[in-house]
């Protein structure tokens, strides 16, 4: 029981209060438009006192949020390196005679960690040890392939974040998209191009419906979308498991919980010849980035989205129907996640299995957070995490470092990015000159 006397309670207030960073109170949540915070508030620098006249370019760079992002990645990689080294047997062995020959320890640590990260890099970008040119550049396209669903689902989450909604339900929307997209990929016969377009569309519709449930309930009854979407994720998982046991759905005699392969005409067209897996889905993802950017920054509807995200009460006063916006946001976000699921099955997987979605829905949340809920940021973050995934496989097979380290690195990045003052404190960076204008 924390039963301290009331008199002492006020006294200890400063102990828990923020003491390290200069400006701890900068809530940098999604939808608050964090990226404009650090740099380029020229108009308000005058308010910063005489000191601010020395706001040189270097200082601006150091205090910018891009710097925070980059440093977050660096810290995360260092922490990941510590884990890799700690789990390595050779390192543990050298630690046994650390005081006799400390250099052994450091050399082994450096070798282990650099080997793992180099393999990660080779698997994600360019494999200079490969035997042919095609094999050397294939990792880069693998990064794009892995990034495709992350970008699409990440966009859905980012869009919801900007509108003040937490769409934890990308996982479920993705599964629904994969279910319906896949089903129309093998259950009906259509002419070549129309077939995959129709299947993609159906995937988007399924995701939109699944997201729409959460949006509708939030708009009509005020049900917390976080809880509803988490529950919908679970339901989607069981729905998939149920369908994979039904022969009318699987259309195959095999007892395995997997459907038959989608038709040739439903495959998304390959962008490059055979050893490459890069497919049309990546183009869809790029188009989606463009669409979301246009929607949020250039359209009236997107303005309403952002207005509701910034302040629902003000938006309501201004005549915006908050309920309608909530529903539309969740439908759009769901459609994007549904596209991610459909592109997954129509582009690479070819058949529906129980684990088709993996943890993509949750990875997409980290993508949206790292991208600061902006379309372009989400694209870059999706590519980065796609690179981690692609590289992680090579790292696992070549150096025996489990791919799970990627999860650690990803989550540490997002944790740090969410708390810029912490990163600034670690590196003794200056705080942004002006108070962040929101």
């Amino acid at each position: 029981m924390t039963d301290q006397p009331t008199a002492a309670a006020t006294g200890t207030d400063t102990a828990t209060g923020p003491s390290g960073p200069k400006s701890p109170a900068t809530p940098d949540g999604p939808g608050s438009g964090g990226s404009s915070g650090g740099s380029g508030n020229g108009g308000s620098t005058a308010a910063g006192g005489p000191d601010s006249t020395q706001g040189t370019i270097i200082r601006r760079i150091l205090s910018s949020s891009t710097m925070v992002s980059v440093l977050s990645v660096v810290i995360a990689l260092i922490l990941g390196g510590v884990l890799i080294a700690a789990a390595n047997r050779e390192v543990q062995a050298t630690l046994g005679y650390f005081f006799a020959r400390p250099t052994d320890f450091f050399v082994t640590v450096f070798r282990t960690v650099s080997e793992a990260y180099l393999a990660l890099f080779r698997g994600a970008f360019i494999d200079w040890q490969a035997s042919s040119f095609v094999r050397a550049v294939r990792p880069l396209t693998e990064t794009m392939v892995n990034a495709t669903p992350l970008i699409l689902a990440g966009l859905g989450i980012a869009l919801a974040f900007r509108s003040g909604l937490f769409n934890i339900g990308a996982q479920g929307q993705l599964i629904l998209g994969a279910i319906l997209g896949g089903y129309f990929g093998y259950a009906i016969g259509l002419p070549p191009v129309i077939h995959f377009l129709f299947a993609l569309l159906m995937g988007a519709v399924a995701g939109a419906c699944w997201g729409g449930i959460a949006g509708f309930l939030k708009a009509r009854t005020g049900a917390n979308e976080v809880i509803v979407t988490i529950m919908l994720n679970m339901i989607a998982g069981y729905l998939l498991a149920y369908l994979l046991k039904q022969s009318w759905f699987k259309q195959t005699t095999s007892a395995n919980p997997a459907t038959r392969n989608i038709d040739e005409s439903a495959f998304l067209p390959q962008l490059l010849p055979d050893p490459f897996r890069l497919h049309f889905g990546f183009i869809v993802a790029l188009l989606a980035v463009l669409f979301v950017w246009w929607l949020l920054e250039r359209s009236t509807l997107g303005f309403e989205f952002r207005a509701v995200g910034e302040n629902p009460n003000a938006a309501r006063t201004a005549g915006i129907s908050v309920g309608r916006v909530t529903l539309l946001v969740m439908v759009t976000a769901g459609a994007l996640s549904g596209l991610a699921g459909a592109s997954l099955i129509l582009g690479t997987e070819a058949k529906l299995t129980g684990g088709i979605a993996g943890t993509l829905g949750f990875d997409a949340i980290t993508v949206a957070l790292l991208g600061r809920s902006r379309p372009l940021g989400t694209l870059l973050a999706g590519l980065l995490f796609g690179a981690f995934r692609a590289g992680g496989y090579l790292m696992q097979s070549q150096t025996g470092t489990p791919i799970d380290i990627v999860l650690v690195v990803q989550s540490v990045i997002v944790l740090l990015i969410a708390a810029p003052p912490l990163v600034r404190t670690i590196f003794r960076l200056p705080a942004p000159l002006a108070k962040e204008t929101r």
Partner: protein, 432 residues
């Protein structure tokens, strides 16, 4: 009595021509009626004739062996359906008189409904193992109950804790590793709360000090814990499983006399220490949250931190302390996955239970006993799904497994009574 007075008063005011009495609450009578009719139809009248269902109570080593009960499926279904109809009629009668439907009616309606379902589902294969069903339900519920208690303490103090999943997993991991290292499950029992509390430390560090959105940290922390535990599992734990990840099990400690009660005694009072800790936690929380200074302060900082601060409660310190304490509870729940059930640690072995615990807390309206009931319900429906698919009944287990989540959505959407979270949850507090 009160209702009669109210009726009399209303009659005396009849000349005013407006009905000032409270509207009749038709919701439960309607739900009961529909369920009763469905049960009578599908589990009774439409059930295939000539089949028999056996309810098995015995488990090995019973003091009193209760004989199995075998009943004709169709006839029993009809009888149970009629009982349900009678209960629904009684509920309607009570509601029409503007009385609250007594709790015993609701409970017995639930039990009879489940019985009639089991009777129907067992008709094809014949045997329903009642004791195993209940014991399994409790086992599946234990982590959920610990998890929902953790969420409850956190949210009552104003910190949303989505990281229950991570805390459960961390607890399971550390419990397994420490128990294995010391070759003693009780060492793991001490380590598990530490793991849960550590996750909570990170949570509060970011939430209270840096004002990061609590839902974001929770989701990210879950990924982080999955990453770290899976990484260590694939490297250290698998490299030397004998040393790091050998199976340790908390022994069962039957309580004398109580554990000799047939069926229920076996299920409730022949368990390991974790389960007894769970009973104690729920009872203590139910008392302390609502009847102690600590609880009053906790609810104050969760509902109106400014007012709490004004009377001298250190809001942030209390929030941090409570959330870390709650994390320790969740860690204990995680221990049930490994040392509690005698399993070695496995990758992502919490498998989304933390999220269900969150749902149980909401369904239980942020109330320890309510959350306990909800968690038991979830555990029961999950185990029912598993049992039914194991004995090969026509009911698809996946649809049954979905049920808790659908119920939660309905609850959050206000179809099953309004649920209201603490007013200030998720909002960082500062005096500036």
């Amino acid at each position: 009595m009160n209702a009669k007075k109210a009726t009399a008063a209303a009659e005396s005011l009849d000349h005013s021509a407006t009905d000032v009495r409270a509207p009749i609450a038709w919701k439960f009578p309607i739900i009961f009626g529909v369920l009763a009719v469905l049960a009578l139809l599908f589990f009774g009248l439409l059930a295939a004739a000539g089949k028999r269902t056996t309810f098995a109570f015995a488990s090995s080593g019973d003091f009193f062996a209760i004989p199995e009960v075998t009943v004709p499926t169709k006839l029993t279904g009809i009888v149970l359906g009629v009982v349900l109809l009678a209960l629904a009629a009684y509920a309607t009668f009570e509601a029409a008189n503007r009385r609250r439907i007594p709790a015993w009616v609701m409970v017995s309606f639930g039990i009879v409904f489940v019985l009639s379902f089991l009777n129907w589902a067992g008709g094809d294969t014949g045997r329903i193992p009642i004791t195993a069903l209940l014991a399994g339900s409790l086992a599946l519920s234990v982590p959920l109950i610990f998890g929902s208690m953790c969420g409850l303490v956190g949210e009552r103090s104003g910190i949303i804790n989505i990281a229950i999943e991570g805390q459960l997993l961390a607890g399971a991991f550390l419990a397994a590793v420490v128990a294995s290292l010391f070759s003693s499950p009780y060492a793991g029992l001490i380590a598990a709360p530490v793991a849960g509390a550590l996750v909570a430390v990170v949570l509060t560090f970011f939430a209270v000090r840096y004002w990061v959105d609590q839902i974001i940290i929770g989701v990210v922390l879950n990924v982080l814990v999955i990453g770290v535990t899976s990484f260590l599992f694939s490297t250290v734990l698998t490299a030397n499983a004998e040393k790091w990840n050998s199976r340790q099990q908390l022994p069962n400690l039957p309580i004398p006399l109580l554990s000799d009660i047939p069926v229920l005694g076996k299920v409730l009072f022949n368990q390991n220490i974790l389960v007894y800790l769970m009973y104690i936690t729920v009872i203590l929380l139910q008392i302390f949250v609502f009847r102690s200074r600590w609880g009053l302060r906790m609810r104050a900082i969760g509902e109106h931190p400014k007012a709490a601060d004004t009377v001298g409660i250190n809001v942030n310190l209390n929030r941090v302390a409570n959330t870390i304490f709650a994390g320790a509870i969740a860690g204990l729940g995680g221990a049930f996955f490994t040392i509690g059930s005698g399993l070695a640690f496995g990758k992502e072995m919490s498998a989304g239970q933390g999220y269900i615990a969150l749902a149980a807390m909401i369904l239980g309206k942020w109330n320890p006993v309510g959350a306990l009931a909800a968690a038991l319900l979830f555990g029961f429906s999950k185990n029912l799904g598993n049992t039914l698919s194991a004995i090969g009944t026509p009911v698809p287990s996946e649809l049954l497994l979905m049920l808790p989540y659908i119920v939660t959505i309905l609850a959050v959407a206000g179809f099953v009574g309004r649920v209201r979270p603490p007013a200030a949850e998720g909002k960082p507090y500062s005096t500036q």
